[in-house]
């Protein structure tokens, strides 16, 4: 009996939700486990880095790596798995786009460290001690990974074959990806494994979207009693659905919350935030600068709103200074 394909899971800068998503496969996970040999899965199984290092290059059929890349350790593991794997699947919004961690790209590394180790309320650090990458203690050397200057998506560090979008990816698209991998029915390299069309396609509220939105204001979800049937944009809420790839079956709109864009853009769009702005703001009501500005004031944090998951993939990549 030939060896079962080897599969690795790894997490970088992530919340763990992607790991949950794998577990959420429920009974299906058993089918997966049956079909493959898992050779790395820090969250669930006891393998060491050295175990992976010991494997021949390219001997792992597929590595599923979630999370953004912030530290040298994450970089190192990503590179190692890349070396050992035939296919790397970038798993989830953080790996694909930088995700929530990438919002930190609005700040300089020094500002972040200063805040976390000095200025943050509740921090007691009169000596202004900072973690060091190398510490000697009682004659022994301890090392910590390097905190990088910015958060990167996985493909900004290593080459990636496929992307599974979502925060986290839904069991359905994970299973579809696994099946495709196992059966070898693989799309071209670089494909995002989810329909290449925007979310409105699958949104149950689609029919209630008026042809002419003509928004005169924007509101945040806590400011409105959200109508559970009606298009969320039509309720003056920023719903990123039109600029976001489908595949989640409109989970958030179904849960009465606007889409925040975790599936990223379609393949035709380079910059999800810019494209959304181009779309929705073209058609707001005012024509004069003061009137336009008043509408824009309804969105106090444009970067955090339009690049909630995608700041690493913004064409500018990060705040410049």
């Amino acid at each position: 009996m030939p060896d079962k394909p080897k599969v690795a899971f790894y997490w970088c800068a992530s919340c763990g939700g992607c790991e949950e998503a794998v577990v959420d496969l429920a009974e299906d996970i058993l089918k997966v486990v049956e079909a493959v040999d898992i050779v790395m899965w820090p969250v669930a199984m006891d393998f060491k880095k050295s175990d992976v290092e010991a494997r021949p290059d390219g001997s792992i059929a597929a590595s599923f790596i979630n999370g953004a890349v912030r530290t040298s350790e994450q970089e190192e593991m990503a590179r190692l798995l890349r070396r050992k794997s035939q296919i790397v699947v970038s798993f989830g919004a953080c790996a694909n786009l930088g995700g929530i961690p990438a919002l930190a790209n609005q700040f300089q590394k020094e500002d972040i460290l200063k805040y976390v180790y000095e200025d943050c309320p509740g921090v007691q650090n009169p000596d202004k001690t900072r973690p060091q990458t190398e510490t000697r203690h009682e004659g022994r050397a301890l090392s910590l990974p390097e905190f990088r200057g910015m958060v990167r998506s996985l493909d900004q560090v290593i080459e990636v074959e496929y992307y599974l979008p979502g925060c986290p990816p839904t069991p359905k698209i994970i299973m579809a990806a696994v099946v495709a991998l196992l059966t070898g029915k693989l799309p071209p390299k670089g494909t995002v494994l989810s329909p290449d069309v925007a979310l409105c396609e699958e949104c149950p509220r689609k029919d209630s979207k008026p042809a002419d939105l003509a928004l005169a204001e924007f509101k945040r979800p806590h400011q409105v009693l959200i109508d559970p049937e009606k298009c969320l944009l039509a309720q003056s809420l920023v719903c990123m659905g039109p600029a976001t790839r489908a595949g989640c079956e409109a989970l958030c709109p179904k849960g009465n919350m606007p889409c925040t864009g975790c599936f990223g853009p379609t393949s035709r769009v380079k910059d999800q935030g810019a494209k959304f702005v181009s779309s929705v703001f073209s058609n707001i009501v005012p024509k004069d600068e003061a009137g336009i500005d008043a509408v824009l004031d309804g969105i106090p944090d444009p970067i955090g709103t339009f690049y909630r998951y995608g700041l690493s993939k913004c064409l500018l990549r990060r705040k410049l200074n």
Binding site: V197, A198, C200, A211, L213, R268
Partner: protein, 669 residues
């Protein structure tokens, strides 16, 4: 020339590009090192041929391109020369003649945008290289396109029934085209119908105009809709759909024969209401006709003054006396749709409101008149039967004509209205002739640039009309001498004599200028054409396309484009008619292929694009739940393309890939 690459693998599998840089004599070569650009581009990926030539647009230049396309199997063409607005079409055709799709072409503007505007050869050459590189990067992504050919509807709409509209309509109708002439007022004739004589020949305006008016009425090819306005315009060149609103006259146009017995029979025994046509100097009844030669000669009722409309309790003697039973007090406004291939706008001008210059006392002193009022006063069929008398019946001993009221004035209108000098001379002559009064012209300078115009000015000088060069400070009634008592005084600096004068007169005529119509902005939006800063309709090119607009198939004629006199107006109307004929007789138009289209399988049906299209070219297919662009209606602005949040709309010639590669190219170093 350098570096001809013979096979596609010489160009790394990229489409084979031919690059040509034009010297344009020394226009380009004097500021840009064309040889350096040629060498630089030759080394760019994909470039198979790179040449320079003295005049690319010349026949040998075009033949050079054609020969290269065939011989070196070029798949793309880039020409660096002048503005694409000049020669893009030339090179597209050159490509097509050699068998290359004309849209596999990109033009680089290194003359208007580089050599003519820069002074440093090194940086100009660098800029030319950057722009050339951008075109080379871009052209790889070009796709073969076809121009769509659509048939042209042979009918024409003429808007405005003044002399411009009348002349254009007759010209087209005489050429066998069906014309609909829409006029807002109850009669055609426009301002010209109000004039008494025309300068400089002094022939009677009515005598030369009314035959043309009746020709319009009787012409089998002309449908005349007066008391009507265009309400809506859809469509595109060759295929416009126009909705016309026909206002109710309360008299059936096809039944009324214009006997005017109803006017006689009206319960108002005397005319009581200020009439528009006589500038309020005359009176009319609620049932009226603008003037005896009104065309069509059909009466109408003004519901604002008619007792039947105001109280519902009139004995309606007008209707009783009508044996044609033409009266219909329940008439409603009607909307009619017509289809036309071309539209001529001849909507005319508005006379400057003299009240905007309060120091001239119009509206305050009864002795102050506008020029148009005087036209009616000197007219034999006007309110005084041609007598030049003041409102109180007195005959003026002296008359002052103030030029440039609402023209050449920083505070009101900066432009010269072009006709006021000449009509002031004409009115001076007529007033003197009709009343024997002393006539003073107060002018900035007399502008008489037309055939026999200066001679007319000379004639007036010899007739003893006074000319005082100076801008009148005020018209007032405070006086200092017994001679001034009870009269109007014009205070003016006589800039030739060099002192301030007070000239007492009995009548003041304000030579009011010409302005855009009050609704010019709405009208231009209705027809999607432009207005200049002053508000007159914008021609496509001030010299080479004076009756065309930026919207194909819509032409302009007469004073709606700028102030002009009758001869120029008629000439322009003829030109507009000829342009419309050229369009119609071609039978079809080719539409630029830069339209947008929705890729159906990529569209999520979010409708974001639908409201953005000003031409309603985007509709939502409710069955498929997808947006659809009617490429015939699409004018190719690309707003929807930029706005499609999932990138599912493409614009020919301006695809994302093409523009991104141009950005990349212009910045790659």
């Amino acid at each position: 020339m350098t570096d001809i690459k013979e096979r596609r693998n010489d160009t790394d599998g990229l489409p084979r590009i031919g690059f040509y840089i034009c010297h344009c004599g020394t226009n380009i070569a004097g500021m840009i090192d064309v040889a350096e650009v040629r060498e630089y581009v030759a080394a760019l990926p994909g470039v198979a041929v790179s040449r320079d030539y003295k005049y690319m647009c010349s026949d040998p230049g075009q033949e050079l391109i054609g020969a290269d396309i065939k011989e070196h199997k070029l798949e793309r063409l880039v020409v660096a020369a002048c503005s694409p607005n000049l020669h893009e079409e030339t090179f597209r055709k050159a490509a097509a003649r050699a068998g290359l799709n004309p849209f596999y072409f990109q033009m680089v503007n290194i003359r208007e945008h580089v050599s003519w505007v820069h002074e440093d050869k090194i940086s100009a050459t660098e800029k030319a290289k950057d722009l050339a590189r951008a075109a080379v990067y871009r052209v790889r992504f070009h796709k073969p396109l076809d121009k769509q050919s659509v048939p042209v509807d042979p009918n024409v709409l003429v808007v405005g029934g003044g002399i411009a509209g009348i002349h254009a309509a007759l010209t087209l109708a005489n050429a066998g085209k069906k014309v609909t002439l829409v006029e807002r007022e109850a009669t055609i004739g426009g301002h010209m119908a109000m004039f008494d004589k025309t300068f400089p020949t002094l022939d009677c305006a009515a005598c030369i105009l009314t035959p043309k008016m009746s020709a319009v009425k009787s012409h089998p090819n002309i449908t005349l809709w007066t008391y009507s306005e265009v309400a809506k315009v859809d469509g595109y060149v060759g295929n416009y759909k126009v909705t016309v609103k026909r206002k109710p006259r309360y008299v059936k146009e096809d039944l009324c024969v214009g006997c005017m017995e109803c006017i006689e029979a009206c319960v108002f025994k005397e005319p009581k209401f200020a009439d528009w046509f006589n500038q309020g100097l005359g009176k009319r009844k609620p049932v009226y006709i603008d003037f005896p030669q009104a065309t069509p000669k059909v009466v109408l009722i003004d519901p604002e003054t008619c007792i039947q409309f105001k109280t519902g309790k009139c004995k309606k003697s007008c209707a009783e006396v009508c044996d044609r039973k033409a009266f219909d007090f329940n008439q409603k406004e009607e909307f009619k749709d017509i289809r036309v291939g071309a539209i001529i706008l001849a909507t005319g001008f508005k006379v400057y409101d003299a009240k905007r210059d309060p120091h001239y006392g119009y509206g305050r002193y009864p002795g102050v008149y506008t020029a148009l009022e005087i036209e009616r006063l000197v007219n034999a069929s006007g309110p005084t039967s041609g007598e030049v008398v003041l409102r109180d019946g007195r005959r003026p001993r002296a008359v002052g004509i103030i030029h440039c009221v609402g023209s050449r004035d920083e505070k009101t209108n900066k432009w010269c209205s072009r006709v006021c000098c000449m009509y002031s001379l004409k009115l001076a002559h007529l007033i003197k002739e009709h009343s024997g009064a002393e006539v003073y012209n107060f002018y900035i300078d007399v502008r008489a640039p037309g055939k026999a115009y200066e001679e007319f000015y000379d004639k007036l000088l010899s007739e003893g009309v006074h000319f005082i060069r100076g801008r009148v400070a005020e018209v007032t009634d405070w006086n200092m001498t017994p001679e001034e008592e009870g009269r109007l005084v014009l205070r003016v600096e006589d800039t030739l004599a060099g002192f301030v004068r007070r000239i007492p007169v009995d009548m003041v005529v304000l030579a009011t200028g010409l302005e855009p119509r009050a609704d010019a902005q709405e009208v231009r939006r209705l027809f999607n054409i432009g207005c200049g800063n002053e508000g007159f309709f914008q021609e496509r090119h001030p010299k080479l396309a004076p009756v065309n607009t930026f919207t194909d198939g819509i032409f302009i004629a007469g004073a709606c484009q700028a102030p002009k006199d009758i001869p120029d107006t008629v000439a322009q109307a003829g030109a507009a008619a000829a342009e419309a004929l050229a369009l119609i007789d071609a039978g079809h138009v080719e539409l630029e292929p830069n339209t947008a289209h929705v890729v159906e399988e990529e569209c999520c049906g979010c409708k974001s694009c639908v409201p953005l299209c000003p031409y309603s070219a985007i509709t939502f297919d409710e069955a498929k739940k997808k947006a659809v662009i009617n490429e015939v209606l699409c004018k190719g602005c690309g707003v929807c393309v930029a706005a499609c949040p999932s990138g599912s709309i493409r614009q020919n010639l301006f695809e994302d890939a093409e523009i991104f590669s141009e950005i990349e190219g212009v910045l790659a170093k």
